[in-house]
Structure formats: structure tokens, C-alpha cells
Symmetry: C2
Subunit: 169 residues, 2 copies
Amino acid sequence: MKLAPTLSTLILSFIIGSSSLFAAEVVKPAPNGINLPAGYKDWKVISISHRTDNKTMRTILGNDIAVKAARAGNTNPWPNGAILGKMVWKQKSEDNWPTAIAPNKFVHAEFMFKDSVKYKSTGGWGYARWKGMDQKPYGKDKNFAQECVACHTPVKANDWVFTTPAIMP
Amino acid sequence: MKLAPTLSTLILSFIIGSSSLFAAEVVKPAPNGINLPAGYKDWKVISISHRTDNKTMRTILGNDIAVKAARAGNTNPWPNGAILGKMVWKQKSEDNWPTAIAPNKFVHAEFMFKDSVKYKSTGGWGYARWKGMDQKPYGKDKNFAQECVACHTPVKANDWVFTTPAIMP
């Protein structure tokens, strides 16, 4: 019986331990320098959507500044400091209710950061997206946000935001 | 010019003031005695769904015990103290992206309260629902929950819960 760990076991443990630590703690910033907001999964709900054109389900969350603005109807413009976050999944039929469409595989989390000075060149919003369960930053270089701006241009008069906050009691 | 309010104006103001106060502060308990959980709109997201059979959109929220259990995969059974809440809206096309389905008029908020002792007669869950923007309790008398249990019976093996928690990084 060997009670002491072998050298190879020790090395293996080190590698596994390091990988887990890396995955859990280090998410790289987007190419424009924006960092993934800590704790965004715990933010409050502003709305949800089901995009039938690309078969995805979305929940639109907000940081405290954004949620306060949404509930007060103060969204055109949104206040500086507001962050909107979207979690996006591929759709599937809900396992236990086949006529319901529900989230399947996680696609990405994407964000808009309102700062009318800092992000003036992109309409007052900083854009960032992290793909997949390993949260890989989207975009080849810092100009990637031009793609975001182009897509959001039809809602320029809505302070560049597609989402309409859901009505709540 | 009359500067002083008339008696009728004063009475009207009193009635309006009282009604607003009532709507904002008093939500009646469900017929089984369950009270609307304070601050449920601020709970974290567990999943979302689009029910194509009755054209509604739903976000499934949880109190801290429920969210912790959902994230740990500890949902069969859910732990005592867990509360699941659903906000339900009629569907509409998103104003700014017509192929997206989004929340329209608010329908109701409904809840399941896990307590395997207190709610043993209804499968270990207490049920309650508040309808509309004025949050009127659902159900004629305390036996209303039999309707909930009947509908949830197909998912008895899933601890009576339809929702599958969404996968998140």
C-alpha cells in the first residue's frame, strides 16, 4: 500500500488545480479594454425576449442604476453609469412542457455601458461581449464595437437600446 | 379667483390619496394564507420561457435559497425555504425588433414555497398567485391549490417543478 502521493499525482493535481483557478478567476477584457462586470448574473431583470429569427432566448438584466432608471421610465437617455446585460441561449423545447420554448446551450453574455463622455465615439455606450461558457472576449481588435453600433443604429432615437423594459406591478 | 380648495376637492383628494396608498402598500394574502413575498422583483433569474400554447412570456426567479440550489444543481428535491416566483406577461412583438417576442401586458406573479412539513398536503409546496397590476389573490377559497397540484402532477418526479434552471457560466 502506498500512502504517500507519487510525484506524477502531485504534478497532475497541480495542473488540474491551476486550470480550475484560471477558468474561475480570469476572464480576459474585451479588445476595447472593458472588463466583464462582476456578479452580473445576480442583477435584476429588466425584460426577456425570444428571438425567433435566430432561435435564441434572452434575459436582459441591469445594474442598480439601470434597474432604477427602467422602473422610473427614465430610459431616453439612460443615465450615465447604467449597464445593461444580456444573457443569450440557444432555444429548445422545455423538457417538461414541450410547447414552451426555454434556454438551451449558453451562447454569450453581452453588455452596454452608458457613459456619454467616455464612450462618446460609440454613441455614449461602451459595448462588450463574452462568448460561451468559457467567456472568451468577442472581437478581433478595439474597433469591433463598430459592428455593434451599426446594428444598433436603427434605435439611435431610443438611446441606441432595443429593449423595452417589461411592465411590472 | 378661488384660492382655497373647496370641500369637494378636499374629499376627492382624500379618496385618491387613500386609494393610491391602498394599492401601493396592501396586497391581500392568497386564500391559503400565503403572503406575497416582499421584493420578489429583485430576485435573481433561474430561467425564462415563452409559452407558445397560451402566448405568454415568463421569467422564473428565485429567492436566495432557491438560486443557490439551482446553481448547485440541488433541485430534486429543492431545499426547504426555497421560493420560486414566475412573472408572466402576454406576448407581443418587440417594438424595435419585430421578429423578437417580448413581454406585453402583465398577467400575474405566481409562486411555489418549498416546505416539506408545512405544505405536506400539497406535495411539499405552498402555491399562490396574484393577478394583474393590482395583484389580486387568485382562488375562491383555500382549496384553490388543488388546481395547482393537478396541473403539476406530471412533474411529480421532478419535485413538482416544471422549470429547468438555465445553464450559466
